[in-house]
Symmetry: C2
Subunit: 403 residues, 2 copies
Amino acid sequence: MKIAIMGYGTIGSGVAAVLEKNRDSIARKTGEPVELKYVLDLREFPGDPIEKKLVHDVDVIMNDPEVGIVVETMGGVEPACTFVKKALSAGKSVTTSNKALVAKKGTELLALAKENHVSFLFEASVGGGIPIIRPLNQCLTADEIMEITGILNGTTNYILTKMDKEGESLETVLKDAQEKGYAEKDPTADIEGYDACRKIAILSSLAYGSQVDFEDIYTEGITKITSEDFKYARELGMSIKLLATSRRAGGRFCALVAPMLVGEDHPLYAVNGVFNGILVEGNMADKLMFYGRGAGSLPTASAVVSDVIEMAKNPGETLLTSWSSEKLPLADRGSWTGRYFVRMEGSREEKRVLLGEIFGDVSYVEIPGLKEFGFVTPVMTEAEYDQKAAQAGGVIHMLRIAR
Amino acid sequence: MKIAIMGYGTIGSGVAAVLEKNRDSIARKTGEPVELKYVLDLREFPGDPIEKKLVHDVDVIMNDPEVGIVVETMGGVEPACTFVKKALSAGKSVTTSNKALVAKKGTELLALAKENHVSFLFEASVGGGIPIIRPLNQCLTADEIMEITGILNGTTNYILTKMDKEGESLETVLKDAQEKGYAEKDPTADIEGYDACRKIAILSSLAYGSQVDFEDIYTEGITKITSEDFKYARELGMSIKLLATSRRAGGRFCALVAPMLVGEDHPLYAVNGVFNGILVEGNMADKLMFYGRGAGSLPTASAVVSDVIEMAKNPGETLLTSWSSEKLPLADRGSWTGRYFVRMEGSREEKRVLLGEIFGDVSYVEIPGLKEFGFVTPVMTEAEYDQKAAQAGGVIHMLRIAR
């Protein structure tokens, strides 16, 4: 089996390294050696082991009938999408680590793969090295998935963990993360939640069997989280995590990305630093969690290569077909149900009667030295919360509480 | 697709319930309805929905060519093994939840399935509802597995969690667990670690690709764990878990089942109560954890039915073949490497010089009111530890520390 890698960056070079390092065991599991024939990149890599495999013209790969599998690790929607379509149309199976591509064009590319009797796989697009796409698609098949909640972005989890443990501000920790290479120079996609949003859209589409558009998912980043929020969290025995979540409630589906308070007993509480964790609730299997390195060259490449092996073992088959192009309508943010932690101006004493009347039975949290107070509401929809919060006035910050 | 269930106990009746409850989504994923045709059991179930499907003679199932898949949920090696062999020889695929059968006869049954162009699957035999067999076999294929460490027995984890949180003795907690149905009347297989031992043998065979005999695995149960051990554990910021573990070290493999100290930063630390957690370390993906309900009727049945769906979708194929019958030689307990926590008679002051000479740089732990003290050794092999402990004398209890 001969393969080509398109994009020799962090992940693409990891794929070459995994193929080299585990050459023998991969050949044994595949039933034949997996040979890297081409690497496509605009740049030159003098002295690199792949130097002689480097091509700059994608058509060299497309026109070579020996290449049965193409690995797309370029990132971004274009030109990745055009190249992937070319490959699928040329009868080559494709695996990608590119969540932007899968979230935007997944349905279309899955259909094109099916038409051409090849596969389009994307295990590495969510959760890096954590097996989650294949478990959802091949293991949890006896269940109806009721909920998926994940820490899907290692950069923000690193930042929040450090803010929690060291009491520092977002700005300070972000700068440190950028210096360590855990955050990009332009961190927008991570800290605004866009990356996590694309990933939960992919997982939800797979889990519920219909297309979830990432544009429809209400998304809040971590930019408003302060060290005061962490003081309250500690007082509550909780931590703050950026969660990407979707759930089935009645006949409807609801999805959102937001920083939430997570209690000590929650399986995601202990997912710290650059690690990712994905909690899946089936109606039969109950709660399951998948945990591991959500990024990094070799872990992500490990997931890509597992797709390569699966495709090499099943030539002429379309391995992933369960994601229909029918659009899944999402209920709006107002139908989200849960408890809310609220920071409010003034003192508990002066607001107690009013809040009792508006919110019912709340529990209070106070931090010595702050001219404000916090409270946790009973369970209600977010529409109810919005209305009550407007009525009460003086809200400084609201955080949802993960159930 | 018509199937039969052999054994209508906790798991067998769960399988019938899952097939009924998720009938539509299972039919959609399989591509055809999955119909339960027979249930084999010695007992009668008057008034039960499966009453009319009940048979007492296994040959009714074996001789019916309409039955393509047989579910074995009887437990125990015999007569389960004889029945499974009959089914495979009759060209029927089999899935089982029976770890005793898989640990004892897995290699033989896998070979028999291959011979007959059918499948023998056993997702539910380890970790209940947690997908672990298929992820090891189909997802982590790009990796060489370096280590598997699991909390694989819910009964002992429930007992240890309760001893930890409530400071009670093993006897008290065991009685409570028996009353709640979490422990059997005869709890030997659980508390002596035999159940966990069979499960780690299965996982290790799959992960390393060669037969690991459970009889070769050094196994210690939890019967010697006292509330004093938990006092030390708390002092160390750790908990005590019954871990079943195997690792690749150099060219050799080492496996053991024993209660171990697990630190707060360890992914298995937060796996409490009846939950199971399985940590897998790949040489590329690094550390991964799979977490969920390791027992219970519906979660375990969910895993069984996921096997049924996979087999129904792939008729005439042998889905699991990677486990060779070649025996994997295990290094003995003496080659295990790690740190050890030791409780010792006497006082730290009187033993300090001696222990420094024997063990080198140890760190001490003391619990007010106890006429003994504890210390943690540097990293060494267990053979070295044994020799040094004999030299020092006065050891009350030793616990390995999970790395």
